[in-house]
């Protein structure tokens, strides 16, 4: 008998008569934000901003027409010289760049170039207000996962309509067949006396721009 059959046999034997019973799952938890947390759409955006800032990530609201300037300003602020971006990043996002070289990931930039880049600019698939999370799924304006992992700085542009209230709302919107990365603040270690220390292997700095329309 091979290992597969043996494990399955043991599982079936262990469960005996109770095998396949489905205990009812009480799903009384909240699927949406309560009135108290966010009564209006503006409150949802405000909550997202507050929660992102709680992780000590920089977060700013900009109008759609100011986005190019805001991206450029953020990169100047970090003194970025060379950044990497997904091949399909909307052209307007980088329109105001001056003195910053943006490498499109097409063909895929090699690992050393990626490691030498000062940052990455991407969009996201979904953002979660309650937890201050941005989720990337490799879809439009997001590129492959390595882009937002290897460089030390990640600038993420979030459209207001991508922000949902809660984790259940985000899970419902996301497709698990795609590679997903949920990002909540910069990388952190708890390895030293179990206290939170920022700046481990992932990006040391996360910056979020919320585009309101």
């Amino acid at each position: 008998m091979n290992a597969r059959e043996e494990v399955l046999r043991r599982v079936r034997e262990a469960l005996g008569g109770s095998r396949g019973t489905r205990p009812p799952v009480p799903r009384g938890y909240a699927r949406r934000l309560s009135e108290a947390e966010a009564a209006t759409r503006a409150d949802v955006l405000a909550l997202f901003t507050e929660r992102v800032a709680d992780y000590r990530a920089a977060v700013r609201h900009v109008g759609a027409d100011e986005l190019g300037t805001a991206v450029a300003a953020a990169l100047w602020g970090r003194e970025a010289k060379q950044i990497v971006v997904p091949a399909d990043l909307p052209f307007g996002w980088l329109a105001e760049l001056d003195g910053v070289r943006a490498l499109a990931d097409t063909p895929a930039v090699d690992i050393d170039t990626l490691a030498a880049a000062d940052g990455a600019v991407t969009g996201c698939a979904v953002a979660i207000a309650q937890t201050g999370t941005v989720v990337l799924d490799g879809g439009p304006a997001q590129g492959r996962r390595a882009l937002t992992l290897v460089p030390g700085y990640h600038l993420c542009v979030v459209r207001a309509d991508q922000i949902v209230g809660t984790v259940p709302e985000a899970v419902a919107r996301l497709d698990p067949a795609r590679p997903l990365t949920w990002i909540s603040g910069p990388s952190v270690t708890h390895g030293i006396e179990m206290t939170r220390v920022e700046g481990a292997h992932g990006p040391v700095h996360l910056e979020v721009l919320v585009v309101e329309d």
Binding site: A3, A14, T131, L149, V167, R178, P179, T181, H190, I192
Partner: protein, 482 residues
């Protein structure tokens, strides 16, 4: 194959919990580190739960989803295998540790890699993978900061959140200076510098790695999705950059459906670090062309889990989502740290998991269900409502049962049998009581007995026994009511 024999490396005999805890209890520095760390985490996790209005609803859902996952485990595993395979991954099965080592070493050998990067995984520690790979000349780099410290020191991990919870910043600084002088952390041992040094030390290794080994927090049966929750980004490096990704996970990590993640992704971060969300949650399904590894292998590990599954009370332990909340609230763990619990699963959850995975034949493992005051704090905080004290008591029963059939009874068993015989007859009982009282009063000083003779002395090792009154209740009753 060179390296470990088919039966696996023979672990050195593990001491009983009480004996293993002695050095930890005598180490005031360790106790200070643990007290500080667990107190901070207790506060943070309690605040995170208090902020969540539907916390109890989430716990209840987490419990029920976990129970359902286990009761339908065979179907879920087959579903998982089908979905992973359809998405371009390969599923392997391992009955025990030796089986799993054989699978993983075989996969690594096929790639020809001489170095692998690895992100925190209890399952790989459980199967002794590092030694097996070292035995065939492959260097394993543990990549979480605390795991690096533990690997450098040759220690065993002591906490689920941070394997190096037993070491303070100065000790970690010393290990880092010794083992990675090039990355040179500041001698002051500032935590930010230590984190930066770990980043610098592993950077090149991540970028050049061909093979990575990782664990899994959840395996979604319905979609074949692997979910990894982490803070540092070392797991992201492992699951994104190398060509080949090998994931080793216990069969208990299965959850039925993708929607169930909406429960666990709220429970786990808040119970683990008190964060609303852990910095990074990664999930993937098979392989994605142009993004991440080209080959993905999932190794499903039994290694005693089906033994636990067969126990209707004990199987609750398999619902564990690895948050470590039970460690932080445990008055025993706070004083002893994780190492007396043995090499893999520390804390209250370890005390109910290890005896079920490994059986209670060894005296050391059999001592684990007793490493508790049964205060119940762990059950109160468990995000999936595992009634740890209930399982502890159940396992104590199992330990006693397993000893009952031995040809030579344990001293405790002999004592209990003697007591049973004495107390079965009123005259024997009264005689024994009279004599016992006389002896006990001879041993007492100032109304207290500080040391009982012989084996009974273990009782008075950590406490005094009050001297019995000169007249027992039975004697008084007979004298006054007759």
């Amino acid at each position: 194959m060179t390296g470990p024999a088919p039966g696996g490396p023979v672990p050195p005999p593990m001491p009983k919990f009480a004996a293993a805890a002695r050095p930890a209890l005598a180490d005031t520095g360790l106790r200070r580190t643990l007290r500080g760390a667990t107190a901070t985490l207790r506060e943070r996790t309690a605040a995170a739960a208090a902020e969540t209005a539907d916390w109890e609803d989430l716990r209840e859902a987490g419990r029920a989803v976990g129970e359902g996952a286990l009761l339908g485990l065979d179907t879920h595993l087959e579903e998982l295998e089908r979905a992973v395979t359809e998405a371009g991954g390969t599923v392997h099965w391992a009955v025990d540790a030796a089986d799993a080592r054989r699978v993983v070493t075989g996969l690594v050998r096929e790639t020809g890699a001489t170095e692998v990067v690895k992100s925190a995984s209890l399952a790989t520690r459980e199967i002794g993978l590092n030694d097996a790979l070292a035995g065939m000349g492959v260097t394993v780099r543990d990549t979480a900061l605390a795991d690096m410290a533990v690997q450098f020191a040759g220690d065993e991990p002591s906490h689920l959140l941070s394997a190096a919870a037993h070491r303070d910043r100065a000790q970690i600084g010393e290990l880092f200076r010794r083992e990675m002088p090039a990355a040179g952390p500041d001698p002051a041992g500032d935590p930010e510098d230590l984190a930066a040094a770990a980043r610098a030390h592993l950077r090149e290794r991540f970028l050049r790695a061909q093979v990575a080994i990782t664990g899994a927090n959840f395996l979604v049966a319905e979609t074949g999705t692997v979910v990894v929750v982490e803070s540092e980004g070392n797991a992201r490096m492992c699951l994104t950059l190398p060509e080949t990704l090998i994931c080793v996970a216990g069969i208990d990590k299965v959850v039925p459906a993708w929607d169930d993640m909406e429960v666990f992704l709220q429970l786990l971060p808040r119970s683990s670090t008190g964060d609303r969300m852990t910095p990074y949650v990664s999930s993937w399904t098979g392989v994605t062309p142009g993004d991440g590894p080209r080959a993905f292998h999932l190794v499903l590990l039994d290694n005693g889990r089906t033994r636990a599954l067969a126990d209707e009370i004990g199987r609750a332990a398999l619902r564990c989502i690895g948050c470590s909340a039970c460690l932080n609230v445990c008055p025993v763990y706070e004083r002893t740290g994780g190492q007396p619990y043995g090499p893999v699963h520390p804390g209250p959850i370890g005390a109910i998991l290890t005896p079920q995975l490994r059986g209670v034949e060894s005296a050391a493992v059999a001592s684990l269900p007793y490493a508790s005051t049964l205060c119940g704090a762990c059950a109160d905080v468990c995000p999936v409502k595992i009634d740890i004290p209930d399982v502890l008591v159940h396992l104590r029963g199992a330990v006693v049962e397993s000893r009952r059939r031995r040809p030579v009874p344990t001293p405790e068993m002999a004592l209990m049998r003697g007591l049973a015989w004495t107390m079965a007859d009123p005259r024997r009982h009264e005689t024994a009581l009279r004599r016992g009282v006389r002896w006990a009063r001879l041993l007492s000083r100032g109304g207290r007995i500080r040391r009982l003779p012989g084996l009974l002395g273990m009782w008075t090792e950590a406490r005094d026994l009050p001297a019995p009154p000169a007249e027992s209740f039975r004697a008084w009753w007979n004298r006054t009511r007759r």
